[in-house]
Symmetry: C2
Subunit: 210 residues, 2 copies
DNA sequence: GTCTATATTAAGATAGAC
DNA sequence: GTCTATCTTAATATAGAC
């Protein structure tokens, strides 16, 4: 489906990477319309015309970021293993997803910005790739619940809750930091412990009745 | 602290309300920088200069929206009653917060946009009003947990998880709709049932050990 | 590949008539 | 209170020299 990777010189690779990194920084904070090429060029350390030598337009830069995003973003869910034990599998998923929020907060915010706006530029990918994967994993979770190996919770909404609780630490980091009031301190260890306990409790299957 | 409410004619009240409603619509989707006065004026059904007769600037419109927001937004948490039963109190809080997301999705997105950008315009209010209320209610939850009437979960992170899971249905509505694939249908009843079950399970106190 | 200079449109805001 | 016209700056993008 994707075009073949074009051959690029070292300098092209370097500058494209600089631009994409700078654009991620700016788009993830300001959204598409709020970001300006000036801000991105400055963050990349390039002149605006030089930046536009590498990408034809603002839209093209944004599109390239979004394109690469969803695949990485769904990796943790892909890793949910039908052959594993339900409870550890789901707790592992939560842990991986939280780790993504910690390691890639800008990607999380870029995605959040896009969805907040109504997903105008990523709608197609969500309808196909995202929905297919979620439906597949929701079916797996439903099967586990049906076998009594997991609490009987709506699988789609369970996945939503995992997305929400983990991405919260990237998307709402400013608020988390202010509320916890320990502004230098890393909130992720406590978040990981909390989420593990939350889901371990909520997902444990009902005891077999006599 | 607030200035006294200025006296206003009927036409002033009507037009200010039209402008604020239109601005909420636009700011909540596009963020502060992404929104334009042209979009807001058009949505309000007023000319741009006429709109600027009622508000001195774009910033002033946005500031007025944010100012009114936090109070309403925190009402559900304020309702957490120290005299009530812990489990029903918390489930009631979740229910009220979800109801807010359903009834005021634009307010939720406005808030989300502001935090995503690093809370530049609402930082002060969060440090004072928000933090004070959260700390107060977290202490209450900690007390309940200490008395064995609630599961021993970190109260601050518990509150974060409730914010995240409920606001998700407003902020990420586009994605929720696409993933559920029933595009006309209201996802809130199922969400309410799921969240009630999730928190009822997770928050139930450990059984007393012999 | 990179730069300066600039064309073009959009956006925030104001002037002044009515 | 509302409008048309307009000022000013910012923003996307391009031309063309080096």
């Amino acid at each position: 489906m994707s075009a073949p990777a074009p051959r690029r010189t070292r300098i092209q690779k370097r500058n494209r990477a600089l631009i994409l990194d700078a654009a991620l920084e700016v788009f993830s904070r300001q959204g598409f319309r709020g970001a300006t090429l000036d801000q991105i060029a400055e963050a990349a350390g390039l002149s605006k015309p030089n930046m536009l030598y590498y990408f034809p337009s603002k839209e093209a830069i944004h599109a390239e970021l979004l394109e690469g995003l969803l695949d990485t973003w769904l990796d943790p869910l892909r890793g949910l293993d039908p052959a594993g034990e339900p409870l550890p599998e789901l707790c592992g998923y939560v842990r991986r997803k939280l780790q993504m929020a910690r390691d890639f907060p800008r990607e999380s915010r870029l995605f959040a910005n896009e969805i907040l706006q109504g997903a105008p530029r990523i709608d197609g990918l969500l309808r196909t790739d995202l929905k297919a994967l979620v439906d597949e994993k929701a079916a797996l979770i439903a099967r586990w619940a049906g076998e009594g190996r997991l609490a009987p919770l709506d699988p789609h909404h369970l996945i939503f809750s995992i997305w929400a609780t983990t991405q919260h630490y990237a998307d709402f980091a400013a608020q988390v930091e202010l509320v916890l009031g320990e502004e230098g301190r890393d909130p992720f260890p406590a978040a990981a412990a909390f989420l593990d306990a939350l889901y371990a409790r909520a997902l444990a299957p009902d005891r077999a009745q006599g």
